[in-house]
Amino acid sequence: MIAPLEHPPAGALDDADLIARSTAEPEAFAELYDRHAAGLHRYVLRRLGAGPADDVVGETFLIAFRERARYDAARREARPWLYGIAARLIGRHRRSEVRAYRALARTGVDPVAASWADSVEGQVAAQAARVPLAAALGALSDGDRHVLLLVAWADFSYDEVATALGIPLGTVRSRLNRARKKMRAALGGVDPTQPTEPEDQR
């Protein structure tokens, strides 16, 4: 006779309960990797390129694993926590990240996209806004860039950004306002949504 399981499988738990369980059953933490690694990887990929993305994602989960006892169980969703750890690691690549934005702004060729694009043509695919956006991103402070890209590329809410970066909600708002103003100023008359056509102002 097969004894019934005394608790539900890992897949049925939310992130907080999964992390809780992993304190007694460390292997359970792998489920968290399966849930979030792919999304985090794509986010880091867009910021740093393929090579650093592999490393940052791996290191993020190792750090998370080692720090899991301090996880705030009131946060049922672990994604902000993980992206916050990743943000610290991304910060170590600040120079190369900024250098890539500047290179894109200067040449129109994106060295980060080159890490996944099949061809140079793919890297320079037409999008009128790429160059001014890259220039503006390269000029942002680290803090503003984290906030802006967590919203734009990770689809984070204000609250999630605040949790991820460990900053007050008001700081999130002010950073995002500041960053977006710079984005809009950089775009100027460029139509960011129509790669090859004049902007259709709404």
Binding site: D34, A38, A53, L62, R66
Partner: protein, 401 residues
Amino acid sequence: MNDLDDRTDSGASRADDTDLTALRALRGDAPQAGAAALAAGRWRLTAAAAQESQAGPARAGRTRWNWLPVHPVARRALLAGATAAALAAGVLVALPGGGSGTRDQASHGPETVATVLAAAAATAQNTPAVRPRPEQWVLHDEVGCMNRKCGYNPTWVHGAGDLWAAPREPVAFTPKIDMEKSFPDRSGRAQLRFEPIAAYDTLSRLPTEPHALLRRISTDPRFRAATIAAQFPTGLTSGVRNGERVTVLAPVKPPPVPATLTPSQQFTNIVELLHEMPVIPARIDAALYRALALIPGLRLLGEPMDDAYGRPSTTLVMDYAFTLHLSDGGKIVNHFTQYLFLNPRTYAYQGSLAVSHDQGKDWPWEYARRAVGVTDTAGTLPGGALWRPYPLAVPGPVPGR
């Protein structure tokens, strides 16, 4: 894409969200992470988790959640079930991580036999094996070395088991493929290697619980026979007899089949199964590594070691003695060291080495798996490219290359 209205609060109208829209398009063609990109991180995490499990209570400390019950069945289920994101489905191909494993990549803290095998099981679990169709070919491309002299040894076996193919000798510049009938001997090990579909189905029926699997492959002649036959093909062996190394061509008694396999025989048995079977159902493949973890006496080699293809490896090892009884009543006792090579980055199977230690000399023979896969045509690699000869490394002395 989510609506921006409830996510942004910049004081701008919805129409002004075009900056975010444009930003989202920037590098928006970034792909979802593939198997290789995610594999290394998962193995590192798995190894850390297994290490902590082995060390006892979590170093992270007990928390208020510790009342949660722990059930060993659930524990295994968690380890086995936490797999969704890993290697991409599709054709069974080359080795996870390929030849890219390096010592640097492997430097993720101290490893133990348990952590390595837990990671190897996770790799296997997440590496889908394709059951070949009768008209397809199963490629097993390996480098084989005897006494440090190496050669190619690629074979393509028809799914139905009626044909097999190999490069015409010499292979160096003539990658033409000879088609031949399969080996007539379909018993035991040959059946596993040269009847891919039948072997796949046979393996599929094995239990996945590690204790049960170890017991089954240690008692079922179809699997157990591989242990001895693989090392000493009937009619040809060598060893030390009366103080001298001799080569015995014939006759050799059929190897005695013990009632139970010793730990070294169990280890060798599984190593041979991994070597012989390019297509193993993922859950069985994973269970084989979990079964390995049950075998006492297995140790992790503490020094760097390359396989016969020149790749660094994470190496499991066991020393043992093997007695071969001759038909004239004599016997030959050989002392062996059996190595199992795993990719240091992904812990995928990479090859094996057996060394006979006699008269102060080492007599190594080894295999390094370069690629396995299912192809539509003999002589090709998965994806359709023609198989070509490749540079061979010269294995260094053993041990401590």
